[in-house]
């Protein structure tokens, strides 16, 4: 029994609730926020791998004295193996993702602390709450528990949009909630179908029941459940048809908060994606569906990104398009491709965070996000400009950086599984990604400065520079030594297949 596992969720929730008690004592709040934000990435490093059963209710099979007192119908059936409690499983994959999430949450919180005048208040609360919810989704081995925390994270995402004073943020928030309230209950309905078929919501139990033919794997109930859960997954992760609203959500939040929003989306994508993969990968059309939706996401994300004029919307669409690469990894379903997809998820977390913080400094300096009205910002702070440029290279997959490694792995995986078309599309999309990034970069930094551009007399905040630099270092380190991450992930991928 490892006590650190639930702490990863409890600490941010407790911090979120306690922070606003110290309203007006700004120093206490800042100190507390920073300490918790530092602790967040440290806990996953010191925790041991293992399972945590809430309330100590382990499966009956592990407790032979209790099992012997029960009727023999229970002893001999699968009930003895089923998990009665909510189970958190903590392994190598969770360690990497929670660590990266912790780092990103730290920078998001640190930046918004240093750039906002009001330190306590709803934004901090929502950031910590969302981090806790997403961590719980990642750790949980219980599909209903995932749904509950997903709904919490959706509420916090709405809240984060509402706290930004961007134009039309309320409209976007309401649209997101209405679409979400169509997607969410359908996801719940799908979980209900699985519950009706198997009688348990624990993913390990469901997999056991299906693989041991306790239920008919091709029964209409499970098929219908798969359809609904898959649709819910599309909604939770912003794949098409939900890519427009997801990119709208990213672009309506403050850039520092968008960093967290995209991290939430990526982690929810992989967590629920892994759950679906574990349960339903036996279905014959499972892989095809995921590949098709990933390809649509990549193409639509990238083509829509070119046509935007708001740079936040550009990065938002690019972030949605990059999700397609992760999906490809799941869809090809070989060991290499899943490793590549999850590695791409790690890279996307880091790179998109870098780009949002980097371009966020422009918004901080000028309060303008329209690329047509910007220009010549490289004079202002060339170091940040160059670091953002390298970040963009990483996103597009330029050799020594991490995006290159993961995209190369995906291309290799698709070639190995006999789909050269997919690798061609992947290369094409990454070229266009590069073009989109260069378009945004050129019109913000390199174009001659428009005469009416004012307000660039402030300095770029040091916290942003530090965040960009550290994220860039992570990019380069992961690019040079990808096995730091891929070794762990490939073990996990081996277990998944």
């Amino acid at each position: 029994m490892n006590e650190f596992i639930p702490l990863m969720v409890i600490i941010p929730i407790a911090c979120a609730l306690l922070l606003n008690l110290f309203h007006k004592k700004d120093k206490t709040v800042i100190l507390m926020g920073i300490i918790v934000a530092i602790v967040l990435p440290i806990i996953p490093l010191i925790a041991n791998y293992g399972l945590h059963y809430f309330g100590g209710h382990a499966p009956l099979i592990t407790n032979s004295t209790l099992l012997s007192t029960l009727p023999s119908t229970i002893q001999n059936s699968a009930l003895a193996l089923f998990h009665p409690a909510v189970t958190y499983s903590y392994g190598a994959l969770q360690k990497i993702f929670i660590f990266i999430l912790g780092i990103i949450a730290f920078f998001a919180i640190f930046n918004s602390l240093s750039q906002n005048k009001k330190v306590s208040g709803p934004l901090m609360f929502l950031m910590f709450m969302g981090t806790a919810a997403v961590t719980a989704i990642l750790l949980s081995d219980d599909i209903f528990h995932m749904y509950i925390f997903f709904e919490i994270s959706a509420l916090t995402q709405t809240g984060i949009i509402l706290t930004s004073k961007t134009e039309n943020n309320y409209e976007t928030a309401l649209k997101y909630m209405i679409l979400g309230s169509i997607g969410g209950p359908l996801l719940l309905l799908g979980i209900g179908f699985v519950l009706g078929a198997v009688g348990s919501v624990n993913i390990t139990d469901i997999v056991y029941a299906i693989s041991h033919n306790l239920v008919d794997p091709l029964s209409p109930t499970l098929l219908f459940a798969f359809g609904l859960i898959f649709f819910g997954w599309l909604y939770t992760s912003g794949l098409p048809p939900f890519h427009t609203i997801k990119s709208g959500v990213y672009s309506k939040a403050l850039p520092n908060a968008s960093v967290l929003l995209q991290a939430f989306t990526v982690i929810i994508f992989i967590a629920i994606g892994i759950a679906i993969f574990r349960i339903f990968s036996y279905l014959p059309f499972f892989k095809t569906l995921i590949v098709v939706f990933s390809l649509i996401a990549m193409v639509l994300g990238v083509t829509m990104a070119i046509m935007q004029t708001d740079f936040r919307r550009m990065i938002a669409f690019l972030a949605v398009g990059e999700l397609g690469y992760i999906g490809l990894g799941f869809g090809l379903a070989t060991k290499l491709s899943i490793t590549a997809g999850l590695f791409q998820a790690v890279n996307e977390l880091v790179i998109t965070a870098l780009l949002f913080i980097g371009f966020g400094t422009i918004l901080y300096l000028t309060k303008i996000s329209d690329t047509r009205k910007l220009g010549g910002m490289i004079q202002h702070n060339s170091i940040v400009a160059i670091m953002v440029l390298i970040g963009g290279f990483a996103m597009a997959g330029v050799p020594p950086l991490n995006g290159f490694q993961s995209k190369l792995m995906i291309i290799q995986a698709s070639l190995q599984s006999g789909f050269p078309e997919i690798s061609i599309i992947a290369i094409l999309v990454s070229i266009v990604t590069f073009m989109v990034f260069m378009k945004a970069y050129h019109s913000i930094y390199l174009k001659p400065k428009p005469n009416d551009l004012v307000g660039a007399d402030k300095l770029v905040p040091r916290s942003s520079i530090a965040a960009i630099a550290i994220l860039l270092i992570i990019c380069i380190v992961l690019g040079l030594f990808p096995h730091l991450v891929t070794d762990n992930i490939s073990q996990f991928a081996m277990g998944l297949i």
């Binding site: 976007t172 649209k175 209405i178 679409l179 169509i182 997607g183 359908l186 091709l218 209409p220 098929l223 219908f224 798969f226 359809g227 609904l228 898959f230 649709f231 599309l234 909604y235 098409p240 048809p241 939900f242 427009t244 609203i245 709208g248 279905l283 014959p284 059309f285 569906l289 390809l295 193409v299 639509l300 990238v302 083509t303 829509m304 070119i306 046509m307 004029t309 047509r372 789909f419 078309e421 997919i422 061609i424 599309i425 094409l428 999309v429 266009v432 073009m435 989109v436 378009k439 050129h442 019109s443």
Partner: protein, 114 residues
């Protein structure tokens, strides 16, 4: 009008895309990005439809020829696509429900009848 003329005409239309892009002040950048988007979407659709060869070769040839014809004759696709991908709630709900319907139909009928 022959198909050759039509293709040339629609290509000219693409380069003349600034008229289709509403009242946005047009720059070289926006035209080139529209062109790039147009080419990307056409080429990816055609390449992706090559994946059908795992099902049936003849089907692939028919689909690619048909798709190519449709795409070329409707050439400035991106403005239309962009109008469909707008932030309007009605359109987003429509596509969400459409996807749900297709998914459920495919999954249910696809498994019971294959």
């Amino acid at each position: 009008m022959g198909y050759y003329d039509r293709i040339v005409y629609s290509l000219r239309n693409v380069t003349n895309i600034k008229g289709k892009l509403k009242r946005d002040p047009t720059t070289n950048e926006s035209v080139s990005s529209a062109l790039a988007a147009e080419l990307t979407i056409i080429s990816t659709l055609l390449i992706a439809s090559l994946l059908l060869r795992h099902i049936n070769i003849v089907l692939t040839i028919v689909v690619i020829l048909g798709l190519g014809l449709i795409l070329v004759t409707n050439m400035p696709i991106i403005p239309k696509l962009k109008r469909e991908q707008s932030d309007s709630l009605e359109k987003m709900t429509f596509y969400a429900i459409l996807t749900l319907g297709i998914l459920i139909t495919l999954i249910y009928w696809g498994t019971t009848n294959v």
